[in-house]
Symmetry: C2
Subunit: 254 residues, 2 copies
DNA sequence: AGAGTGTACTGGTCTGACCATAGTTTTCAC
DNA sequence: GTGAAAACTATGGTCAGACCAGTACACTCT
């Protein structure tokens, strides 16, 4: 009857992988909590019965995942870290940069993201966050006089406050990643703009409109405005037909 | 005048980190492309002038980020991999499990993504892609008889064809990552559903509606439908107020 | 009690070795 | 000549043992 025995495929699991796995599950089971200390490498090699190289390789991958941090000389051992979305940002960034992604795609994605973020912000925003957005806009107003660079910095700050108000970390991460990638790809375009004064005024007016919609809790309008403004900003990059289609998504009545 | 010299903070950079950095930038600069082989560990330790342990630790972090893969015994050396969203999925998963990211956030993000993907698909879809979507829906129809598991597989296939029609790789990457994470989180829920027959019929009807909107080029409707269906599907997870707000985004006339 | 010194142990790195394995080459039989 | 089998070679995985610079903590000495 041996033919009825259900054998299962075997894959050789490397030693350091099993060490990683055990520590990882210990962390996700809350047996190890942020701030806790792992035993020293020399202790770990005894408990896992492997060599120190193996332990170190395991710690390196745990470290690159952001789960632990080793500091030389610390007698308390490696520290278990608080999980943070920061590691996601790096990954998304690399993916964006690595994938052969057309600039138009990036812009398109950014448009959708920006719209969604504003929509969510209009629904989730709290009073202090509204206040933060208002002061951010006021700061932009003040920076108009100091040139495009300072203004752009204030602009970014405003948008960040909007992203924060969306109360969605995934959205924020993607927003951050796409913004970084976009800046990298269109670097230097800012100063090139001849009518910087007019552009600043326009941006300011746009952001005021968005803020009003968010403040009113009108997610639909906020999203639509954001989309059309991003389209305007990066208009040269995407084709005219897309420009029309993406911008008017919400204007077509259901 | 030494006090005017601008010194800059020094942080000790570990050797393996610099190895990682160099290989990483080589990959992101396309000097190393997917499928290429890295030199063997013993060669690397000569070119970087470090010990093999250091090289190995560097390779472990590169491997954990999905950039390379080492296979024992392969004389061609470690392989440079194609960047893949799989690593993103794993990271998102862990963050959700560690409650750094709320499940509701993930669902919310998914809703926005799905809607955006359908909107884009309605605008960018080509005729062959429409055909692929139609056959995918037909396949779903056929799988209804074979139970929820087979049906769900067909369902996923349909949605993948929609994502593909969006012609936006970033959207696809994020979609894949979130889908993977969501599936992992709600695994087993499928069979639990008592009225699986009715649910399948409903899903099928929903997908038919979406397909119709995409086919008609109506991005607004396609997006709205997709959002409301995802909300329906994962309805238990998000709070009632969000359910209403997110679903009706496009129904509020501008 | 506080400031400075010691010290024990940490992580980072190196050397050198062994094993099983996978790709390649060579051999050998037909 | 050709195909399969055996031998070879370099690879990654793992181990043991060593050295160094640095940190936290205890222990001085005032």
């Amino acid at each position: 009857m041996t033919h009825k025995v259900a054998f299962t495929a075997v894959k050789t699991v490397k030693a350091y992988e099993r060490v990683v796995e055990q520590i990882e599950t210990a962390i996700s089971k809350r047996e190890l909590r942020p701030g806790d200390r792992l035993p020293s490498e020399r202790e770990l090699m005894l408990t896992f019965e492997v060599s120190r190289s193996t332990i170190r390789e395991a710690l390196r991958v745990l470290e690159s995942t952001g789960l632990v941090r080793s500091r030389p000389g610390d007698p308390r051992g490696p520290e278990v870290l608080q999980a943070s979305p920061a590691i996601l940002t790096k990954t998304v960034n690399r993916l964006v940069r690595l994938e052969t992604i057309a600039l138009s795609e990036l812009v398109e994605f950014r448009i959708m993201l920006e719209g969604a973020a504003c929509t969510l912000a209009a629904q989730h925003r709290t009073e202090p966050q509204l206040q933060a957005m208002r002061t951010a806009v006021d700061a932009m107003q003040a920076e108009v006089a100091h040139g495009p660079v300072a203004f752009s910095r204030a602009d970014v700050a405003f948008h960040e406050s909007v992203w924060a108000a969306s109360h969605n970390q995934l959205m924020q991460i993607c927003g951050e990643a796409t913004r970084g990638a976009l800046i990298d790809m269109v670097i230097g375009e800012l100063d090139r703009a001849p009518d910087s004064q007019a552009r600043m005024e326009l941006s300011l007016a746009h952001d005021r409109e968005i803020l009003a919609a968010i403040s009113a809790g009108d997610g639909s309008t906020a999203g639509r405005l954001a989309r059309s403004f991003v389209i305007e900003y990066y208009g040269d990059i995407i084709s005219p037909e897309n420009r029309a289609a993406l911008g008017n998504v919400d204007e077509v009545p259901a």
